[in-house]
Symmetry: D2
Subunit: 334 residues, 4 copies
């Protein structure tokens, strides 16, 4: 027996990734909720994919959906979430609609008003490695942004261990594949603009920055974050620089992560001097971390890599679903 779970926004890249993961998940069955018209790819005759139903007020109960994933823009998530919760579904929202805690924070970074302060306060930030205990009882999971997932997994253990010379600042130079920008056509994500190119955007003011600050414990003036566009489909690699204290070797840095993630199934660590590349994490729910350190000067470099559609979006959403529904946390994800 499988449990039906709904997906709104299933044509986007995160939505399509959700379908792929959920179709292989042993305990659930995805149901595609048609909310807005969009272009479908041709499909083979007789291979229609998961069941599709029109999204309507009574869909959750008619279909018996335990969980609904919103792989939608923030404004759509803001619109749909209250009614979904009222209908009894648990909601896992992949947008930024409920990540920032307060309406003031949302207005500052998203340049839009937010009229649901209660839900903002109620939403649990779905980064299991740090908020696992709060997830099973939540009604509304706010799935983390792709950049902050890698950044927080790399930075928070360092902050907690007190090894960053914080007055020198910490740099997170982040690079993402194009799918992070979504499927809606735009000049910036057109093939000819991206191929054989590399570009920066949102220097110092990316809307994912406050997610890093909230979770890692860094202060805003301590973090310099730049987002950059790689000519690839999927993957995020972040190169993180800081001055270290109270640590004497790369092995010492590695030990901090080993302790923090000893029980974590989705964080993998590399031997000192080695580092993950994006092939290592493509199509997975892993966050891979490698450390480099110069003991003479204290300069440290940490590399964190994820698949932005995996641990950075759909994979993590399924990890949250597993926790919500009482399944093994790794079900469907290894």
């Amino acid at each position: 027996m499988t449990i039906p779970v709904g997906i709104v926004g299933f044509r986007g890249y995160s939505g399509a990734e959700l379908i792929g993961i959920l179709e292989k998940h042993p305990q659930v069955e995805p149901v595609l909720l048609e909310h807005r018209d969009a272009e479908d790819h041709p499909r083979p005759v007789g291979h229609a994919g998961p069941r599709r139903v029109k999204f309507a007020p009574d869909t959750v109960q008619a279909e018996g959906l335990a969980v609904v994933f919103l792989a939608t823009p923030a404004d759509v998530s803001l619109e749909l979430t209250p009614a979904l919760l009222k209908s009894g579904a648990k909601v896992i929202d992949l947008s930024g609609a409920f990540r920032l805690g307060t309406v003031e924070n949302y207005r500052r970074w998203y340049n839009e008003p937010h009229h649901q302060p209660d839900l903002l306060a109620e939403a649990v930030y779905g980064l299991p490695e740090f908020y696992r205990s709060r997830i099973p009882a939540a009604r509304l999971i706010s799935n983390p942004g792709c950049y902050p997932t890698a950044a927080n997994l790399a930075i928070k253990p360092l902050v907690d261990a007190g090894v960053i010379v914080r007055e020198a600042g910490i740099v997170c130079d982040a690079k993402s594949g194009v799918s992070g920008a979504g499927r809606k056509p735009s000049l910036k994500t057109s093939f000819c603009e991206v191929t054989e190119n590399f570009s920066v955007y949102s220097v110092l003011n990316h809307r994912h920055v406050p997610e890093v600050l909230r979770t890692s414990g860094l202060e805003e003036n301590e973090l310099s974050f730049t987002a950059q566009l790689l000519p690839i489909h999927r993957g995020i690699l972040e190169t993180i620089y800081f001055r270290a204290r109270n640590v004497e070797s790369a092995a010492g840095l590695l030990a901090i992560y080993q302790k923090a993630y000893a029980q974590e199934p989705f964080v993998r660590l590399y031997a000192p001097g080695q580092a993950p590349d994006l092939h290592a994490v493509a199509h997975t729910n892993f966050c891979d971390i490698g450390v480099h350190f110069d003991p003479v000067t204290g300069r440290a470099v940490v590399i964190a890599a994820i698949d932005n559609l995996g641990k950075g979006a759909a994979g993590q959403a399924v990890q949250n679903m597993n926790l919500l529904l009482g399944f093994p946390e790794t079900a469907g994800l290894l």
Copy 2:
């Protein structure tokens, strides 16, 4: 002293390529004619590029433009051409607006009515290798499509030489980089849809087919043409298959081309068994051709490669301009 020449549609990929070529051309100066708003890329301070003026009824005379390039969609070319000609400019149109000779042909392949039969009849098809003598005196040059440029240069000498077994048909399997689809964002040309992919479109009914038929001398039922999208920015490679007669070796096929193109500066030929790739022609106005032949069975394969933005669009347009204005045909193009 340089002569000013205008470009409408200078933000598109063909338009940008025109700017690049014309800025290095020793005898002309490009003037960018603002016709519709569109997004510009950031430019360095103090490097604004060529002069820009609003496109208006009196622009041609106010700026003293000898030639205006229309790097615009067909509907815009249809709208602008009559007034430009009336104002005394010569027009080189890079769209399909004036390529097909008759309104019936246009309606069939472009699915649109065409109300300028006189201009259709008057327009000279700007493939200098075959229509050179008619170009200098023309008012309106219809610059060939990218696919037909390579196809006609590869096929017409074979038709003229009578070496194709025409009842067996001829196949032109054509592959193009994404810039051939223009700069307007669309799902089909989005990075994530194109990268690590390859796809067919317009099988047997591409609107460039009639251009090949008109020039090469083939009949419609003799030609099977498929257009395909390569995950690259620029370049067209066409693999052409036919049964040969009256020829005994690859060298014999090569000799046909050598005779046809002995005086041509922009057609290059390869030794039997060798073939061009797309790097060979990138950023050039060359059409490169290689031949393969099995004398036992008469199976022949011809490879033709161009840069779709070079010989397939802007390069050829400048070649036509050189002929129109009495410059050396290769000026600015080698």
Copy 3:
């Protein structure tokens, strides 16, 4: 309980794909057989992957291997196969060593002598759609080449149905991603040579041609085959042209395939006028087929797409293993 199966050549692209499939397979456990030194990628600490053992004469019995996959060059397969068979393992060879039936054929297309005519004669060509009944009892499976897998699945039903005008010839214009060339570094597969490029190779004389002839029933002089290199990692798309008779519509062509593949789990068909692209088959064991047809002239175009590492290599090898070991044919492959 899982059954151990061995992989020689596990560092190559087909070998790595085999590991990935077999690790998820519910009934087997891959064992990596170290045969030659080669460079490994860095791996996360504590994630060593499948067990590795030195390949030695007694490995098959010591490890209890029921099947050994050879993801090796043809010369290595020729060297290892006799001893493996003698030790009691069944062998699935992914190279071309045993595909061509006779030593004469091998010498002609591989330019090398072949000293095992008995094994050549004994080997079963592992294309289950056409040779399924012979596979379970075989000792030695010769896994088909990537190009022939797509070509035969597309062409053989047409030959059997008698709809090809064979005197006009049939064209198979084939395009492959770079992984088809293997992992050994070479100039031709270097990133800078391939990116933003497209090139032909082995025009009319590719060593995969005889595999197409043997299975499809075409004569050599009827088939024109060109191999071409796409700037992508994985995927093969073949555009196949012929003149059709005894068929009146694209639906009629489609019906031929529907009848031929009604029971096949790994062949998918598209509605007339639609076609697969390479994203449709990436990371799958499917062969997707689409048909186009002009009833007026009889020109037909068939598109066949596979993942060269999936149905074109490792996926098909596992399909063969499933048949050999009596598992459900789709186990581990959907």
Copy 4:
């Protein structure tokens, strides 16, 4: 009348780029010096390219070469340079052989002995923006590395202006296209390893670091430099982070560069908040720089972009040749 100049290593990517630039240069004629056998690409019949001669002891005098470019590995440059200088040619070496000033420095960063301390001391570092006055009289120009060219042009004016809070350190996160690794095939630069990937290498210990230190004036413990591989052919983008003092706005940072580069033809600056991408500099000799600044916290980000084969190698080499031979500095480069 053109002057003959020689190229050793003309088949490599920098060498090929040199040919392309020099063929369009109005005052010189490239002569290709065959030193070692390597694979050539097919070329069209009758388009052999520049003249080729065997490299021999008397080549410089026999051909009347005023300058010889060495686009060779460091060990080959070390071997050839003394004899070339003795024969009267000026040498522009594109390798790292003569960049580091002392044999100790060379041994530390290249892990090799160096037996020509006099030439190391004599060589002029060919970064015209900072060493222009010394170039015309030099015999031996050591063309800068690609990474250091961008890094020094971005960093040195900031150091000179005293606006970096040096105790907080400066981060240079550098990304390069694959051609920077040369044309010799290797697993790391194979297409399948690079496409859809991104990876770090030489974290904190890249051999280009000492070039940055020598020219910029930074101390080793102040600079954290990471090299990273982009899945593109050409281009370097460096994202540079520091804490600023004595400056109040992005415009203030920009003013520092405007003053430093007021007379420089090959450095272009962007308005505050804008930044170059790699398309902006592809196939040019420009270094483009953009600045970002948060006046509240003093966090600053500078983006510097070059074409690694242009300003990062061949373009800069020709710029040096122009200075050596008394040509206009921009000849052949705009």
